[in-house]
């Protein structure tokens, strides 16, 4: 099982939102609003989750010309991702409950994320 090399608070927050209801398909902007992570940043976290096969994404099946807007890309947890998310979130439940504000990114972690 491919893993995530480093779990960041943003990643936890993102997984929390995704795992809150596995039947919902999210698109980037909606996830950004729900999780409070800035929308350009969220694509990086999603790319890492997708590489680890915790999340899959499919393009929305619409005709952009007919709808008058670009296609969304829909993200959802894979079954394996759902299990990993639940395991992680229960593991960090105390931290999440104790430091709700810490989950929202406050600082950059040095050059690694710049």
């Amino acid at each position: 099982m491919a893993g995530i090399e480093r779990i960041t608070p943003q990643m936890l927050r993102l997984l929390e939102v995704l795992a809150s209801d596995p039947s919902i398909e999210w698109w980037g902007l909606a996830l950004a609003k729900a999780s409070g992570i800035q929308s350009p940043t969220i694509y990086r976290a999603l790319a890492r989750l997708e590489a680890a096969r915790w999340v899959t994404s499919t393009p929305e099946e619409i005709d952009p010309a007919h709808e008058g807007r670009p296609r969304r890309r829909l993200y959802r947890l894979t079954p394996a991702g759902g299990r990993e998310a639940t395991r992680l979130l229960s593991g960090y439940a105390q931290e999440i409950a104790a430091y709700p504000t810490r989950i929202v990114p406050q600082r950059r972690y040095g050059a690694a994320t710049a």
Binding site: A2, W27, S39, P40, Y43, R72, Y92, Y109
Partner: protein, 191 residues
């Protein structure tokens, strides 16, 4: 009286000019935003470009048409963070071609259970030292974890000697504590 008239006339002309330039600028904003999106996408691996162009355009499209400046700022941020995204995409692309377990991992997981336990037994001296250094600096576990880019739970386990931190983690923690690795090892061998 004449100078007052001139002042009023100048004011009217300037205001009109300002309005015209403002309108012109607002008209240019969407084009500028689209250019920034193209610039962001160009930084990504060729395979992912079309996909992210669509995602970024959707996001910009969703911002109300009267929030052109917000959209522009968003595109600017995206452009700046695109390099990070490209890095993540390249890393995942490279990782896909790697063998599932490396030689190192195979060696790490070989041996009897006792040997394994010995190899991965946390160093309680290191645990105590890290905790002492943090307390000397009067910073909390949360602050240090945030600075080191690890979770509070991980730091807590390291300090309690339940987990053996890897090299990278030790480097991160010592950097966050403002201690050089030389200092850290010196203190470790002294204690």
């Amino acid at each position: 009286v004449i100078s007052a008239l001139v002042a009023v006339a100048t004011f009217i002309v300037m205001a009109a000019l300002g309005a015209v330039i403002g309108a012109e600028f607002l008209g240019w904003l969407p084009a500028l935003t689209r250019t920034l999106v193209s610039l962001s996408v160009r930084q990504l691996p060729a395979k992912s470009r079309e996909r992210y162009r669509e995602e970024f355009l959707y996001d910009i499209n969703s911002m109300a048409s009267d929030r052109k400046v917000t959209a522009l700022l968003w595109a600017l941020r995206t452009c700046i963070s695109a390099r990070g995204l490209a890095k993540s995409l390249n890393e995942s692309e490279n990782r896909r071609h790697e063998p599932k377990t490396t030689e190192r991992e195979r060696l790490d997981s070989s041996g009897s259970p006792t040997q394994l336990a010995m190899r991965h037994r946390p160093d309680i001296d290191l645990a105590a030292l890290l905790k002492r250094l943090r307390e000397e600096r009067d910073i909390t576990q949360e602050e240090l974890a945030l600075d080191a880019g690890i979770t509070v739970a991980a730091l807590s386990r390291i300090e309690r000697g339940l987990n053996s931190p890897g090299w990278v983690t030790v480097v991160r923690i010592s950097k966050a504590l403002g201690v050089s690795l030389v200092e850290l090892t010196t203190q470790l061998t002294d204690s």
